[in-house]
Symmetry: C5
Subunit: 319 residues, 5 copies
C-alpha cells in the first residue's frame, strides 16, 4: 500500500492522526471529520476506497487516470474534484490532485509529496477554533493552499521574464531558447490552471450552497486570488509575445548593422588594393614609379585613404 495518512477530528473536537483501520468507524460517526491523504495511489488503495467509501465506479476510474481536466463531478453523497497545484523549481510544474469530498471526510490523491496538501492538512488540524474543523473547512484549506502556491510560481516566471527582457536587446540565441521554453511552459500551465479556477467558481455558484455562509467570503477570496493568477498568466503571455516580436526586430536591426560594418570594412580594404593594383601595372611610362619616395608615398596614400574612409564610415554610423 502507498504512503498514506489519515487525520481525523474526533467527535470530541480534537484532531489527531488515526490508524487506517479505524476509518470505517469514524466514517459512520457524523460528529467526526476524516482527511485521508494517499500519495502515489496503487490499485490496492483504490480497492479500499471502493469498499470503505463506496465511491461510484466512474469516479474511481477517473481517480486512477492522470491528466484529467479540472472539474467538479457531483455523485450521490459526495463530490469528485480534480484540480492542479503548481510548483516552480527549474520549470513550471503542475501537479494533479484528486479529491473526494463527502459528508464527513475528504480523500486526496496525488503523485509524490505535495506541499499544498501538507499545508492544508496542517492548517486545518491546528485551527484554533474547533468550529473550523469541519469538512467544508478542509476543502477551503485545500483550495486556499493550492491557490496560494500559485503565487510563488508567478513570481518565478516574472523573474525569468524580467531576465529575458533585460537580455533581449543582445539578441543572443540563448535568450530565444529561454523565451521559447518559458512560453511553452506558460501555455501548458495556463491550460490546467485556468479550469482550476473554474472549479472554485463552480463550487461557489452551486444552486444548493455547499459551503456554510461564514466560509463563503473566504472562498470568494480564494476565487479572487485564482482570477488574479490567470490574469497574471495572461499578462505574462502577452509580455512574452511582445518580447518575441521585439527579439525579431532586434535581430533584423543587428543584421542591418552587421551588413553596414561589412560594407565599411570591405570598401576600406578594397581601395588600397586598387591602389596597389594601379602601381603594379606594367606601363613603361609611370612617373611615380621612378620617384625615390614613390613607395612610401603609395603606402601613405593607401593608409590615408583607408583611414579617411573608416573615419567617414564611423561618422555616418556604419561602424
Amino acid at each position: 500500500m502507498s504512503p498514506c495518512r489519515a487525520v481525523a477530528r474526533l467527535p470530541d473536537g480534537n484532531v489527531s492522526t488515526v490508524d487506517l483501520s479505524r476509518i470505517d468507524e469514524l466514517l459512520v460517526d457524523p460528529g467526526s471529520a476524516v482527511w485521508l491523504d494517499i500519495q502515489d495511489p496503487a490499485e490496492s488503495d483504490i480497492n479500499v476506497l471502493r469498499q470503505e467509501f463506496g465511491f461510484h465506479e466512474l469516479s474511481l476510474e477517473d481517480a486512477t487516470r492522470r491528466e484529467q481536466r479540472p472539474k467538479v463531478d457531483e455523485y450521490p453523497g459526495y463530490y469528485f474534484i480534480v484540480l492542479y497545484a503548481a510548483s516552480a523549481a527549474e520549470r513550471i510544474g503542475t501537479h494533479e490532485i484528486h479529491c473526494f469530498w463527502g459528508k464527513n471526510y475528504v480523500v486526496t490523491l496525488h503523485d509524490g509529496p505535495l506541499a499544498p496538501v501538507d499545508t492544508a492538512i496542517k492548517r486545518w488540524s491546528s485551527a484554533n477554533d474547533p468550529r473550523e474543523r469541519t469538512v467544508a473547512h478542509q476543502v477551503y484549506a485545500l483550495l486556499d493552499a493550492v491557490v496560494d502556491e500559485y503565487f510563488p510560481v508567478l513570481d518565478a516566471v516574472a523573474e525569468r521574464i524580467a531576465e529575458i527582457e533585460d537580455d533581449i536587446f543582445d539578441a543572443r540565441q540563448q535568450t530565444l531558447r529561454e523565451l521559447f521554453e518559458i512560453r511553452r511552459q506558460l501555455l501548458n500551465a495556463r491550460r490546467t490552471l485556468a479550469p482550476s479556477r473554474d472549479v472554485i467558481n463552480s463550487l461557489l455558484r452551486r444552486d444548493i450552497p455547499v459551503f456554510p455562509p461564514e466560509l463563503v467570503p473566504y472562498l470568494a477570496d480564494v476565487y479572487d486570488h485564482a482570477i488574479r493568477v490567470i490574469d497574471t498568466l495572461d499578462l505574462q503571455h502577452d509580455l512574452l509575445s511582445s518580447a518575441v516580436e521585439t527579439y525579431l526586430s532586434v535581430t533584423s536591426n543587428k543584421l542591418n548593422q552587421t551588413m553596414r560594418t561589412l560594407t565599411a570594412l570591405t570598401i576600406a580594404l578594397m581601395v588600397p588594393t586598387l591602389i596597389a593594383g594601379v602601381y603594379g601595372m606594367n606601363f613603361r611610362n609611370m612617373p611615380e614609379l621612378e620617384w625615390p619616395v614613390g613607395y612610401p608615398f603609395a603606402l601613405t596614400l593607401m593608409a590615408f585613404i583607408a583611414g579617411a574612409l573608416l573615419l567617414l564610415f564611423k561618422r555616418i554610423g556604419w561602424l
Copy 2:
C-alpha cells in the same frame, strides 16, 4: 450490397449476430435492440434503410453525402447524428460516421473499416449486465469509443510537436515543412472534432432527456474527455504558432551569424591579398624587395595578420 453487420440483443437478453433478413421482425419487437453497421454504404443500402426503417428523405440524403458537419438532427422517432472519428497513422485522419438512433436500433454508416465502431459493438455486445444492452448503451459505447480514439491521435501529434521543438534551433527547411504540414492537419482536425464535442453536449442537454439517468454521469465523462481533446488541440495549435515564430527568429539569428562569418573570412583573406598587391607594385625603390628574406618575410606577415584577424574574430564571436 456493402459489407455490413447486424448485431442484436434478442428479447431474451442475449446478444448475437443476426441475419439481415431477420431485422424487420426484430425492429417491431420493443424488447430487442439492433445495431446495424454498414461499411461503404451503397445505393442499395440506402434503399434498405428507406424501406425497413422509413427514415426521412432528408436524413437519407445526408447519409449519402460526405463532409457533413457534426450535428444532431431530430426526426420523428429517431435522431440522425453525424460525428467524426480520428486516427493518426502517417497523418491525422478524420473519419465521418453517420448514425441513426431510434427506439430499438442504432444504424451506423462509414467508409472503410473503423476501429471505434468495432470496439463499441464489441463492448456493448459483451456487457456483463444485460441491463447494459439497451440502445442508449449502444450510443454511449459508440461515443465513448470515438472520443477514446482521439487520445492516441493527440499523443501522436504531441510526439511530432516535441520532435519539431527539438529540431527548431537547427532551422532546417525540413523542420519548417513538418511544422507547416502538422499545422494544416491540426486546423483540419479541429474543424471536425470541435463540433463533434458539441454533438455530445447537445445530446446531454436536450430538454427531454435522451439518456437514462444512470448513464448521464458516463456521458458527462465522455463529454469531459471531448473538452479535454479540444483544449489539447488548442494548446498544440498555440505551441505550433510559438514554434513558427521561434523558427523565424532562429533563421534571422542564423543569418546574422552567417553574415558575421562572411565578414570575418572575407576580411581575413583581403588583408594578405592587399599585402601581396603592395609587394607586386613596380616602384623602383622598394627596399624590402631586395632583402634576401623579403619573400619569406612577406609570407610570414600575411600568415600572421590573417591568423591574428581570425583569432580576433573568434574572440568577438564572429566565427
Copy 3:
C-alpha cells in the same frame, strides 16, 4: 424594361410562365403563387413594383441600391430579404440578390443572369407534388440553390490553396501574389456570406414561424450547409495565414542559404586570387619563380585549394 420573367402556379396547381400583364389578377387570387424575377432592374421596374405590389418606399429604395448588408426586413404583408450568391470563375464573385416575399408571390431582383435563381425557379416549377408549389417552397428553393452554389466556390478556393501550398517552399514572388489575392477575395467573400447565413437563421427563428412545419427540417439543412460554408471559409483563412507565415520563414531560410553560397563561392575565388597575388610579388629572391614547373605548380595549387574548399563547403552544406 429589363429582362424579366414571371412564373406562376395557377389556381389549378399547374405552373407556367405568365404574361406580366396578368400578374395583378394572379396577385389577388390566394390560390396562386407568382415568382417574378427581374434582371438588371431599371427605374421602370421599381415603378411597377410600387404600383402593383405597393411595397414600402424604404424597401424599394433598398432594392435600387447595391452593396446592401444581408438582412431580413419585415414590412406589413411581406419580407424584404437581401442575400448573396457566390461564383468562382477566375475570382470569387459575390452577387447580390434582393427578394420580396409576400403572401402569394416572390419577387427577385439581381444584376446579370444568376444561376441559383434559375435553378430555384426551375426546381420549384417542376416539383412533382403540387403541394410543393407554395410560396414558402419558392423561398426554400431559392435559399437552397444559393447555398448549394457556395460549395463549388469553396472547392475552387481549396484547389487554389492546395496549389499555393504545393508551391510555397519555392518562395516565388508569384506565389505570394496569389496568396495575397486569394486572401483578399476570401476576406471579401466572408463579409457577405457570413451575414447571408444569419439571414437563414433569422428566418428560421422568427417568433411567428414563417415556414410550414414540414419545410423546417429542409431549411435547417440549408442553414447547416451555410454554417459549414462559413466554417470552411474560416478554415481556409487560417490555412492562408499559416501559408503566409510559412512563406516568410521560407524566404528567410532561402536568404540564409543564398548567403552561405555566396560565402562559399567568394572565398573559393579569393584564395587562388591571393596565390596569384603572392606569385605576382616582385621580390628578388623567390625560388618558386625560377622552378621550371613553377607556373604549372601554382596553377595546380590554385585549382587544388579551390576544389578542396568547394568540397569542404559542400560537406558542411554551404553549397
Copy 4:
C-alpha cells in the same frame, strides 16, 4: 456669441429661421419644433442653454468637453446624445456632435461647420409632408445624414487601400508610410464610429419607444447602414493587416533577389580578376606570356568566362 442658427416649425406647420430671442416663446408652445444649431459653442452659449432650456449641469459640462465617448444619456425631459460625423479630405477626420433632444426642440453643438448637420436641417425643414416636421424627424434626419456621410469616407479609404495594394509588390518605403498612416487613421476612426453605431441601436431599443412607429423602419435602415460601415471598417482593417504581412514578405523576397544579383555580379567580376592575377605572376617559365596573341587571348578568355557566367546566372534566375 458663436455663429448659431435657429430654425423652427411654427405652430401653423411652416418652417422658417427664427430669431434667437423668440426661442423661449416657441419652447413653451407644444405645437412648435425648434432646431438650434450652435457652431463653436462658447461659454455664453452654454449659459443660454442653462437658462433657456434648464439642462442638467452634468450634461452642460459634457457639452463643453471634447473627445466624449458616443453615448445616449437620459435626463428628465430630454436626451443628451454624443455622436461622431466623419469626413475624408486628406485624412479621415471624425467630428464630435453633441445633441440635446427634448419634447419640442433639438440643440446641436459642434466645432466648425459640419455638412451632415446642414444637410439634416435642410432636409427636415423642406419636408413635403408637414407631419414630417416633428422633433423625432429632426433626430432621424440628423442620424441619417451623419451615417450617410460615412460612406464617402469608406470609399476614400477603399481607394487608398486599392492604391496601396497595387503598389505593394514594389515594396517602396513610401507605400509602407501610407500603410502605416491609413492604418492609424482607421484605428482612430473605428474607435469613435463603432460606439456611434451603438448610439442608434440604444435609441431604437429603449424600453419606452422614443420614435413614432412609422419612423422605426427608417431608423432600422440607418442602423443597418451603420452596421455595414463598421463591417467595412473591419474588412478594411483586415485587408491592411494582410497588406502589411505581404509587404514584409515582399521585402524579404527582394532581399533574396538582391543578394543573388550581388553574388552573380561579384563572381562574374572575380573570375577575370583571378585570370589577370594569374598572368601577372612572375614565373620565369610561363609560355602564354611569350605568345604573340597571348594578351588578346587572355582578354578574350576573361570576357568569355564572364559572359558565360552572366548567361548561366541569367538562366538559373540569379540576375
Copy 5:
C-alpha cells in the same frame, strides 16, 4: 503610527479635520460623516481599524496585502473596495487604493501620498451644498478623482506614441527600446485599470442601489469616462502593435537598401581593380603598355567606368 488624516462632517453640517481620538464618538453619530485617510498603513493602523470599526478579519488581511485585484467585496455593514489610481511621471505607474465604505465613514489606505485622494477629500469637504457632504458623495468624489487622473496618463502615453511614430521610419534601436518599454507599461496598466472600471460598474448595478438617485447620473458619467480610458488604452495598444510591425518592415526595407548600396560600391571598385590587374599582366606583347599616354589612359578608363557605374546605380536607385 503612519501619517493619517481624519476629516469629518460634523452633525452641524460643517466639515473640519478632527482628532483621531474623536473618531469613535463621530462613528456612532448617524448625522456625521468621517473620512479617514491612512498613508502607508502599518500594523498599528490595522489594529485601530479592527477595534474602532470592527472590520471582518478577511478584509483587514486584504488591506495589508498589495497587488490585489480591483474588486468590491460586500461585508455586513460596509463595502471593501480595491481600485487603482494611475500616474505618469517617467513611466506609467499604478497605485493601489483600499477603501472601506460604511454607513457614515470612508476609510482609504494607500502607499505614499496620492493626488486623487487629496483632491477627493478637498472637493468633498469644500462642497457648497451641505447636502453634498454625505458618505455617498465621498465615494463619488474618490472615484471621480481617480478616473480623472487617468486622462493625463493617457495623454502622456499618446505623446510618447506620437514621438515613436515620428521616429519609426528611422528604425533606430532606441525607438525599438521605447516601443518595447511603453508596450510593457501599457499591458501592465491595462491589467489593473480595466477591472477598476468594472468596480464602478458593479457599484452602479447593485440590486440594492448604493447611491442616492441624484448621484447616479454623476456616477454614470464617471463610468463613462472609465470606459473611454479603457477604449483609449486598447487603441494605444493597437497603435503600438501596428508600430512594431511597421518597424520590422522598415528594418527589412533598410537592409535591402544597405545591400544594394554594398553591391553598387563593391562593383564600382571591383571593375577598376580588374583593369589594374589586366595592365599588370606580364604578356610580352601588350601594345598599351608601350603607349606614352598608356598610364593616364588606364587611370582615366578606371575613373570613367567607375563614375559611369556609380551614375548608373544612382539612376536605378541602388545608391
